[in-house]
Symmetry: C2
Subunit: 338 residues, 2 copies
DNA sequence: CTGAAAGCGCTTACAG
DNA sequence: CTGAAAGCGCTTACAG
């Protein structure tokens, strides 16, 4: 049993007694075709089970109708609920605008040599535009996209270039807001747990957090980087709880809050009444922690919507200037603060 | 500023004073090229920043070196940690075998008409093989793949056809094992919560569960379908806890266990000592619930490995017969049972 | 070891 | 309203 031969436009033309040109017109909904001819062609297409070969079409049109979302596999946590909820929105919008959305793994470090890194999709002309998650400072992929004038948008911040489009949370304010929320709820012995310090987002959040306490002329609170998953959140909380006198924990990332909750509860403490916990993200799961997590919202839908529109503008007109959007976060009050 | 013209093989040939044929040889590592010639070409390629156009290459070779993973967006829960961990493994292996892995959303219902559904990738010849998650009974995509002889593998079960390759957990045994685990731990008033009844996986799990109790000549325990997210798990648990006398809950899906935990704790009950909870999946997060969740493991890495190998065999030799693998689950004991 | 030429399956000015 | 022909950027028997 050998692979079935593909049905091509040529077969359809022969079978229906018309030229390739006419079949092509029907496929592409060109109005200049007699109704009767159109019907004949459509019938033949159905009969033969013909499907246009998108590869051939792209070669000629230099357009793929594909958009790629790049997601990096940083420290094991390949893809969280945060990415998930944004991708949902991207999917909805790209469908509406006639683009196919592909998701591909790509890393800022290995893309250059690695033919199987997802970034090959842009190098080899397999997409019209890109949406980049998890971009790092000095990301070579960003320079590449710029130099090749491939439309793209970063979800996150770009501190390396000043002419690249992005959408980001106002992370410095998120840190500030977190500090303020805790302080105004009467907490004074606060620890802030964040992921790797090399990520800009964490630097910004820490800075805003620190600034608030400086504004209150308070001593600098505890800040711990390198807490990038539940496991580390669990360990760090345990350690802090035994070593330091704490009344609250501000944890960057709702998923990691799970580790904090467990540590707190294992020490016989109550989240809320004994120790306040504040997250960032506002993921669905935060609502089902006990007690439900008070958190700083990242409006995922807005992220997706703005990212897509920013890309779409470039797709339609390559000369538009880079648009940068900063989203202002808000607190979602639930019950993990007293 | 208009889009930069792509550098083609022609440009490289002209610039290096050689034929296209020779440049093509160098690109494809054909040994029949004088070392010096090869060097010249490579230098020119670097100088011009040439990258092969994969679209043109695919058109000729009828091979894309791409594998697509299809994931369905069922009831809002587009992609869970379970998919995530399997995709990790698929990514590792495809990279090693020289394939690019793309992830795309596709639904069993809408693929036929919808040009932007991910399944267009196979209809239009944009991939060499497919890995299907979330396939449903009578999935038209499966028939299509079969009829077009596109290599594929299903992660899950196919009860419609008897000649399609898949990897699945022995779900009936998982249900049986869950019942047994609970029973042998002394639980008698059990409720089993599962997702939509239309999914084969849920039917099988329920069947195995029921069979165990029949074997013990016990009355049929409570089984509730339609519990497919944390929200519904929370509600159902709340309802059951007030309406029925229960000593344990068996919940299909660790993520949903979060909702069960919250309901139990809100009623002032202790997970473990008052109410036993048993999950299925063994996701990382289960370890960080308090108390840590006892669960039935789905070996994600094995899933990914077997799925990939099953596909790879077909990619290498289209005549191999469909291979089906059933993985036997085991219990991971933690502390949510007394 | 190297090259001229056909062809993959489409689209698209250009004619008629 | 329809068609013959060139061309997108590669690869690949076939020659030499």
């Amino acid at each position: 049993m050998k692979k079935k031969k593909r049905v091509t436009i040529k077969d359809v033309a022969r079978e229906s007694g018309l030229s390739i040109r006419t079949v092509s017109r029907v496929i592409n909904d060109d109005p200049h075709v007699k109704l009767e001819t159109r019907k004949t062609v459509k019938r033949t297409i159905a009969k033969l089970g013909f499907e246009v070969n998108a590869v051939a079409r792209s070669l000629k049109q230099k357009k793929t109708n594909q958009i790629v979302v790049f997601i990096d596999q940083h420290q094991g946590m390949y893809w969280g609920s945060f990415h998930n909820e944004i991708v949902q929105e991207l999917l909805r919008r790209s469908k509406r605008e006639g683009y196919r959305l592909l998701i591909s793994a790509s890393s800022a470090d290995s893309f250059a040599e690695d033919e199987n890194d997802g970034f090959a999709l842009v190098k080899h002309g397999l997409c019209d535009g890109a949406i980049m998650f998890d971009s790092k400072p000095d990301d070579k992929r960003v320079s590449y996209l710029k130099s090749q004038q491939v439309p793209f948008v970063i979800v996150g911040k770009d501190i390396t270039n000043d002419d690249t489009p992005y959408v980001d949370l106002d992370n410095e304010y998120a840190g500030y807001l977190g500090a303020q929320t805790l302080y105004q709820n009467g907490y004074r012995k606060v620890a802030f747990l964040l992921g790797d310090e090399s990520f800009v987002v964490n630097q910004e959040r820490a800075r805003g957090f620190q600034r608030y306490f400086e504004d209150q002329s308070c001593p600098t609170p505890i800040i711990r980087f390198g807490v990038s998953d539940m496991e580390q959140a669990y360990r760090m909380t345990n350690q802090l709880l035994t070593d330091v006198d704490l009344d609250s924990i501000f944890i960057s990332g709702d998923e990691r809050a799970l580790g904090v909750y467990r540590a707190v509860q294992e020490q016989g403490l109550q989240v809320g009444s004994d120790i306040g916990i504040l997250g960032i993200d506002n993921l669905k799961m935060g609502e089902y922690l006990y007690p439900p997590l008070t958190t700083i919202d990242q409006p995922k839908q807005a992220f997706g919507e703005i990212a897509f529109n920013t890309l779409l503008e470039q797709l339609k007109d390559p000369t538009v200037t880079a648009k940068r959007t900063l989203i202002t976060p808000q607190v979602v009050e639930r019950r993990s603060l007293k």
